[in-house]
C-alpha cells in the first residue's frame, strides 16, 4: 500500500526549475534512497513532501489524503489548514543540521510536540521519550542540553524527536552530511536498525554504500528529473544509463 504518492510535481524558484515533473510512490515498510548530485532537487522534493516548500503543480498524497492536488487551471490546490495539520504529522523529517531546540533539554525536545501537538499527557510523553532515548543509546542524556552533545548524539536525538510523533514515514535530508566519518557510522547504524523494524523511510543521501545496503529501492535524480529508479542492484550495478554511470563512477562502492 502506498503511503506517499507523488505525481507530476513541478517546482520553480523564480526562473530556476528545481523539480520538473516528478512522480513516484513509496510503499509501507519500504526504504527508498534518493541519490544524485547537489542541486538535483532531492532536498527540495523532500521539503515539498514535508510541506516546508509548496509545489507549483502536481499532486502529493500522504496516507490516503491529498496534501495538494492540481486544479482545473493546472496550478496546485492545497488542502485546508486543518487537513494539512492532520496529515503532515504522518511524515517526520530529520534535518542535515539536526535543528534541535537549543533552549530545551533533550527530554523537552522530545516531549514538547507530543504534549502540545498530539495532546499526550506529560507523563506518557516522558515514558515514550525515555523508551526512544534508550533505543538511541542516550538514556543518560535526557536532562542534557543539545550543545553538550556530539553531532552524532544530536542527530540521534533529532531522530528520536521525529519518531516520538509516531510518523508513518520518516524522511532524512542528508542526515550525515554535517558529521565526520565516525559519527556518520553511528547514524547509519540507527537508520539500519529502523529499516530492520520495517519503518517506512525516505533517505536523501550521499552515502552510496549505505544507500545500496539498506534500500529496497533507489531513485537517481539529476537536474530536477528522476533519471533512474530501481532496486539497488539495478541502479548501482546493472545500470545502462550514461548519466547514472558517470555519477557513480566517482564513488568506489
Amino acid at each position: 500500500m502506498a503511503v506517499i504518492t507523488v505525481s507530476q510535481v513541478k517546482k520553480s524558484f523564480s526562473t530556476l526549475e528545481v523539480l520538473k515533473d516528478i512522480s513516484f510512490s513509496l510503499s509501507s515498510g519500504e526504504v527508498l534512497s534518493i541519490i544524485g548530485p547537489s542541486g538535483s532537487g532531492k532536498s527540495t522534493l523532500l521539503r515539498c513532501i514535508t510541506n516546508l516548500e509548496t509545489v507549483d503543480s502536481g499532486t502529493i498524497t500522504i496516507g490516503g489524503d491529498s496534501l495538494v492536488t492540481t486544479g482545473s487551471d493546472g496550478t496546485a490546490v492545497y488542502a485546508d489548514h486543518a487537513t494539512i495539520a492532520r496529515i503532515r504529522l504522518r511524515v517526520g523529517l530529520v534535518f542535515q543540521n539536526f535543528n534541535l531546540f537549543p533552549h530545551f533539554s533533550v527530554m523537552r525536545n522530545l516531549t514538547e510536540a507530543q504534549v502540545h501537538v498530539l495532546k499526550t499527557s506529560k507523563q506518557e510523553a516522558q515514558e515514550r521519550s525515555y523508551e526512544l532515548l534508550g533505543k538511541m543509546g542516550l538514556k543518560d542524556k535526557a536532562s542534557a542540553y543539545p550543545y553538550q552533545l556530539s553531532g552524532g548524539q544530536q542527530q540521534r536525538v533529532s531522530i528520536a524527536r521525529a519518531l516520538a510523533l509516531r510518523p508513518q514515514v520518516l524522511c532524512f535530508d542528508e542526515p550525515t552530511s554535517a558529521l565526520d566519518p565516525e559519527l556518520t557510522g553511528e547514524i547509519l547504524a540507527v537508520i539500519k536498525e529502523l529499516a530492520s523494524e520495517h519503518m517506512t523511510m525516505m533517505v536523501v543521501t550521499h552515502e552510496m554504500a549505505f544507500a545500496r545496503d539498506i534500500s529496497n529501492r533507489v531513485i537517481f535524480m539529476d537536474e530536477g528529473l528522476i533519471v533512474e529508479e530501481g532496486t539497488p542492484e539495478e541502479v548501482f550495478s546493472l545500470t545502462q544509463n550514461d548519466r547514472t554511470r558517470r555519477f557513480l563512477s566517482r564513488f568506489s562502492t
Partner: protein
C-alpha cells in the same frame, strides 16, 4: 542636609516611576512595532518604518515637548505633564526596542522554524516557545544598553516641568549656591544604573544554561 536628601529621594521616586512605567508600556509595544516592521503588507511595514524613522531621527526632548503641547494646540486641552512624559518615552523607546527585537527575531536560524513546522507546532506556539525564549537571550546585551540610557533620559522630563531627580537637584543647587546637589544626583544615577547593570548580568547568567 537631611532635608535635601529627602527632597532628592522624592525626586528619585518620580524618576523611578517614569523608568518603570516606560518599560511597562514600551517593552510590549516594541514587540507590536517589531511585528509591524516585519509585516509582509507593504503599507503596514512602511507606516511602521516611518514611525521608527521619526522616533529615532528626532531628539527625545523635542518629542516630549510635542506630546505635551500638541494636544493643547489641536484640541485646546492639554494632558497631565506626567502622563505626557510616559506617552513620549513609551513611544520613543518602543521604536528602539522594536529594532532590537527585530534583530533578535531575524537572527534565529530558519531551521528552528522548519523543525517547529514539521513537528506540527502552531505559529503562535512556535513564536512564544521556540523563537522568543531564544530572542530574549540574544538581545540582553543590547537591551541593557537601552535600559541604562533610559535611566539617564528620565532627567529630560524636567523640560516640561516634572520634578524628577535632576530638577530637584538643580533647584537645590540654585537655592544653596552650591553644585553639591548636582554631584549627589550624579551618584544617585550611578547607583541606579549599577543596579540595572547587575540585574542584566544576573539575567544573562541565568540564561547561560544553554548555548
Amino acid at each position: 542636609m537631611a532635608k535635601l536628601l529627602m527632597l532628592m529621594l522624592e525626586g528619585t521616586l518620580t524618576s523611578l516611576r517614569i523608568f518603570f512605567l516606560t518599560l511597562m508600556f514600551a517593552l510590549p509595544l516594541g514587540l507590536v512595532v517589531a511585528k509591524g516592521r516585519m509585516s509582509r503588507h507593504r503599507i503596514i511595514s512602511s507606516i511602521v518604518n516611518g514611525y521608527i524613522m521619526i522616533m529615532r531621527g528626532t531628539p527625545l526632548i523635542l518629542q516630549l515637548i510635542f506630546v505635551y503641547f500638541a494636544p493643547y494646540y489641536i484640541f485646546g486641552a492639554s494632558t497631565d505633564r506626567f502622563t505626557a512624559v510616559i506617552i513620549a518615552y513609551a513611544i520613543n523607546y518602543a521604536a528602539y526596542f522594536a529594532e532590537i527585537y527585530r534583530g533578535g527575531i531575524q537572527s534565529i536560524p530558519d531551521g528552528q522554524l522548519e523543525a517547529a513546522s514539521v513537528l506540527g507546532f502552531t505559529k503562535f506556539h512556535t513564536f512564544t516557545h521556540i523563537v522568543m525564549p531564544q530572542v530574549v537571550k540574544r538581545i540582553m546585551p543590547a537591551m541593557g544598553n537601552e535600559v541604562i540610557t533610559l535611566v539617564k533620559d528620565t532627567a529630560l522630563a524636567q523640560t516640561i516641568g516634572v520634578a524628577e531627580l535632576f530638577r530637584v537637584a538643580q533647584n537645590a543647587a540654585a537655592r544653596e549656591f552650591s553644585t553639591m546637589p548636582i554631584f549627589f544626583a550624579g551618584v544617585f544615577y550611578f547607583v541606579m544604573n549599577a543596579i540595572v547593570s547587575k540585574s542584566f548580568d544576573f539575567i544573562e547568567r541565568k540564561l547561560d544554561y544553554y548555548r
